[in-house]
C-alpha cells in the first residue's frame, strides 16, 4: 500500500496542474460561480418566458386571502389576485430596472473613473473629489426627496435616479486601477508609438480592467434592485409597474402582515434575496478565478483518503 500512496502523491499535483490549465475548466470547478449562474439564469428565464404564461396578473378573483394551494401556488391577495402570477411577471420589470440602472451606473463610473485616472492632473483631482463626495452623501434620502419633488414615477426616471446615485464606489475602484496601469510599459510604449488617446484607453487599458468592471456591474445591479424595492415599498413608484417591490407595497398597504397573509409578502422578498445572492455568487466566483489567493484548494476525495492512510501507516 505505501508504494501506491507515494505514486499517487507524486502524480496528483501534475494532474491538477493540467486540469486547471484551462480557464473554463477552473470556472467549471468553482461551485459558487455555477450556483450563481444557475440562480440568475433561472430568474432571467422567468422574466423572459414567465409573463407569456399568465394573462393579466392583476386580475381580480373571487378567492381572497387564500393560503398556498394547488390552484394558487403562492396564495391570493386581499382582492383575489394570484401571488404566484404576480411574482413571475414581476421578475421582468425588476430585472429590467436592475440591468438598466446597473448598466448606466457602470458606464458613468467607467467614464469618470478611467477617464479621470488616465487624464490625470486637475481633471483627475476634480473627478476623484466628486466621486468621493457622492460616496459619502447618503443617497436614498436624496432619491426619496427627488422622487417626491419631481412626482415622476415612470420606469426611466427611476432607472436614472438610481443609476446616478450608485456609480461612485466603482468609479473610485476603477480610478485606482487606472492610475496603476497608465504608467506600465505597454501603455507607455503605445503612447510613444503615437496611438490616439481613445485607442489607448479602449484597447490598452479597458480590457485589463474588464474583470473589475463586470464585478462592479453585478454589484450595481444588486444595489439597483434593492433600491427600487425600497422606493416601491415607500409608494414612490408607479403602481402600474409590476415589480417585486410594488407587490410588497400593496401587501403592506393591505395589512397583509396583521391579517397573517405571509404568502403575500414572503415570495417577492425571497426572490429579491435569491437573485441578489445569485449575482453576488457570480461575483465571488469570478473573484476566485482571477485572484487565486482567495481560492480554497479542495483536495480530491480519493487523495484525502490516501493521505489519511499514509498518516496511519506512519508516513
Amino acid at each position: 500500500m505505501p508504494a501506491t500512496v507515494t505514486t499517487q502523491l507524486v502524480e496528483a499535483p501534475a494532474e491538477a496542474a493540467v486540469r486547471g490549465s484551462g480557464v473554463l475548466r477552473t470556472a467549471l470547478r468553482s461551485r459558487r460561480l455555477i450556483a450563481g449562474l444557475c440562480i440568475v439564469g433561472f430568474f432571467v428565464l422567468l422574466g423572459v418566458v414567465g409573463p407569456l404564461f399568465f394573462g393579466n396578473p392583476n386580475l381580480v378573483g373571487t378567492v381572497q386571502h387564500a393560503g398556498p394551494s394547488a390552484a394558487h401556488w403562492f396564495g391570493t391577495t386581499d382582492i383575489g389576485q394570484d401571488v404566484f402570477a404576480q411574482t413571475v411577471v414581476g421578475a421582468r420589470a425588476t430585472l429590467e430596472i436592475g440591468a438598466a440602472a446597473g448598466l448606466i451606473a457602470t458606464v458613468v463610473s467607467v467614464v469618470i473613473g478611467i477617464g479621470g485616472g488616465y487624464a490625470g492632473g486637475w481633471v483627475d483631482e476634480a473627478l476623484a473629489l466628486l466621486s468621493n463626495v457622492a460616496l459619502v452623501i447618503p443617497t436614498l434620502p436624496l432619491v426619496i426627496v427627488v422622487a417626491a419633488f419631481v412626482k415622476n414615477t415612470g420606469l426611466l426616471p427611476t432607472v436614472f435616479v438610481i443609476a446616478l446615485t450608485s456609480w461612485a464606489a466603482s468609479a473610485r475602484v476603477l480610478r485606482g486601477q487606472t492610475l496603476s496601469i497608465r504608467n506600465r510599459d505597454y501603455v507607455l510604449a503605445s503612447k510613444a508609438l503615437g496611438e490616439p488617446v481613445w485607442r489607448i484607453v479602449l484597447v490598452e487599458i479597458m480590457p485589463n480592467e474588464l474583470p473589475i468592471i463586470v464585478s462592479q456591474y453585478l454589484f450595481a445591479m444588486i444595489f439597483a434592485i434593492l433600491a427600487q424595492a425600497g422606493l416601491a415599498f415607500l409608494g414612490l413608484q408607479s403602481p402600474d409597474l409590476l415589480t417585486w417591490g410594488n407587490t410588497l407595497y400593496f401587501a403592506q398597504n393591505a395589512q397583509a402582515l396583521s391579517s397573517g397573509d405571509w404568502w403575500w409578502f414572503a415570495p417577492p422578498g425571497l426572490c429579491i434575496a435569491l437573485l441578489g445572492a445569485g449575482l453576488a455568487l457570480i461575483n465571488f466566483g469570478l473573484d476566485e478565478l482571477l485572484n487565486p489567493r482567495l481560492r480554497v484548494y479542495r483536495e480530491p476525495r480519493a487523495r484525502r483518503a490516501a493521505r489519511a492512510d499514509g498518516t496511519e501507516t506512519g508516513q
Binding site: 460616496l135 452623501i137 424595492a229 415607500l234 403592506q252 422578498g269 445572492a277 480554497v296
Partner: protein, 328 residues
C-alpha cells in the same frame, strides 16, 4: 504629519457638506408651480399661518428675492440660524424640533445596532477565514443570501414571526404610548423592548457583509510571509490569528465601515416604515406623503450631516489604527 492628515480630511468633509447644502438649495426648483403657495395653502388648512412665514419659506427653499447668488446667500443665512421653517405635517411645529426628536431615536438605534453588527461580523469573519476550507465555509453562501435581503422585507418577516405569531416583541412604535416620555425606568425599558426587533433586523441584514469582507481579507492575509513567520516562530495560534492576521485584515473593513454607514441609514429609513418607529425614516415618509417640503429638506440635511460626521470620525480613527495612511 498627523495634523496635515486631519486637516485634509476636514477639508474634504467641508466640501462634501457644502455640496450637500447646495444640492438641497437646488432641489425645490424641481417642484412644478409655486411651492410656497402650495405650502402656505396647506398650512392654512390646519391653522393660522404666522406673518412673514411666506417670506421665510421663500428664503429657506432658496427661492428668495434677487439674483441666484442673492437667493443662495439668504438660504445660507437661514440655515446658519437653524431656521428650517414650520412643518406642514405637524403644523405649526418648527421643522428643527421634529427632526431633533427623530434623529435621537434613529441615531441610538442605528448606532448601537451597527456597532454590534460590525463587531459580530469581524469576529465571525476572522474565525471563518482562519478555518478556511473547513465546514465553516458553509456559512459563506448563507451570509451571501443575507446581504441581498432587503432590510424592510426582513423586518416584515420578523414582525410576522416574533410579533404577530409568537408575540414576543411589540410590533409597532418606539415605546409604549401609555407611558410618560422621559428618563424614567418604565419608559426606558419600554423603549429598549421596542427597539430590539428593529435592532435585530439591522444586525441580521448587515452582519453578512462584514463577515464576508473580513473572511476574504483573512484568507488573503494568511498567505503573507509575516503570518507564516509568526507561525514558524511557534507563537500560539490565537496570537497569530488575532495580532498578526486579523489586525491587518481588518483595515479595509474599517475604511469600508465609513461608506456603509450611509447604506445602513438608508436601509433603516425604509425599515422604520414597517415598525412605525418614531425615527428619521418615518418622519421623512410622512413628509413625502404630505408634500412637506421644508421638513424633507430639514431631514435630508440632518441625515447628510450625521453620515458625514460618522465618516469623518471613522476616517480620523483610521489614521490611528493604520499609521501608513498619514504618510501617504
Amino acid at each position: 504629519m498627523r495634523l496635515r492628515y486631519i486637516g485634509r480630511k476636514l477639508g474634504f468633509y467641508l466640501v462634501a457638506a457644502w455640496i450637500a447644502i447646495t444640492l438641497n438649495f437646488f432641489l425645490p426648483r424641481l417642484i412644478p408651480g409655486d411651492p410656497v403657495a402650495v405650502i402656505i395653502s396647506k398650512q392654512q388648512q390646519t391653522g393660522t399661518v404666522p406673518l412673514g412665514e411666506a417670506d421665510q419659506l421663500r428664503r429657506l427653499l432658496g427661492l428668495g428675492s434677487g439674483s441666484l447668488a442673492g437667493q443662495y446667500g439668504q438660504y445660507l443665512n437661514s440655515l446658519a440660524h437653524l431656521r428650517f421653517g414650520l412643518s406642514i405635517t405637524v403644523f405649526p411645529t418648527p421643522v428643527i424640533d421634529l427632526v431633533r426628536q427623530a434623529v435621537f431615536w434613529t441615531l441610538i438605534l442605528v448606532g448601537i445596532a451597527t456597532l454590534l453588527s460590525f463587531a459580530l461580523g469581524i469576529a465571525l469573519g476572522t474565525v471563518t477565514g482562519w478555518k478556511r476550507g473547513s465546514r465553516l465555509d458553509a456559512i459563506v453562501p448563507a451570509t451571501t443570501l443575507l446581504t441581498a435581503v432587503p432590510y424592510f422585507w426582513l423586518a416584515l418577516l420578523l414582525v410576522y414571526l416574533f410579533a404577530n405569531t409568537w408575540q414576543i416583541f411589540p410590533a409597532q412604535g418606539g415605546f409604549d404610548p401609555a407611558l410618560d416620555v422621559g428618563w424614567n425606568g418604565a419608559f426606558i425599558s419600554s423603549a429598549i423592548q421596542h427597539s430590539l426587533l428593529p435592532a435585530i433586523t439591522l444586525i441580521v441584514a448587515s452582519v453578512g457583509g462584514w463577515l464576508l469582507g473580513m473572511r476574504n481579507m483573512m484568507v488573503a492575509t494568511l498567505a503573507e510571509d509575516y503570518v507564516v513567520a509568526a507561525e514558524a516562530k511557534g507563537l500560539t495560534p490565537l496570537r497569530v490569528m488575532a495580532k498578526y492576521a486579523a489586525r491587518n485584515a481588518v483595515l479595509p473593513s474599517v475604511s469600508g465601515f465609513a461608506v456603509s454607514i450611509g447604506f445602513v441609514v438608508t436601509g433603516q429609513i425604509v425599515m422604520e416604515q414597517v415598525f412605525n418607529y418614531p425615527g428619521v425614516g418615518n418622519l421623512l415618509f410622512a413628509a413625502v406623503q404630505n408634500q412637506d417640503y421644508p421638513l424633507m429638506q430639514g431631514i435630508f440635511l440632518a441625515i447628510s450631516f450625521a453620515v458625514l460626521g460618522a465618516n469623518l470620525l471613522v476616517d480620523l480613527l483610521y489614521g490611528f489604527i493604520d499609521p501608513r495612511t498619514k504618510e501617504a
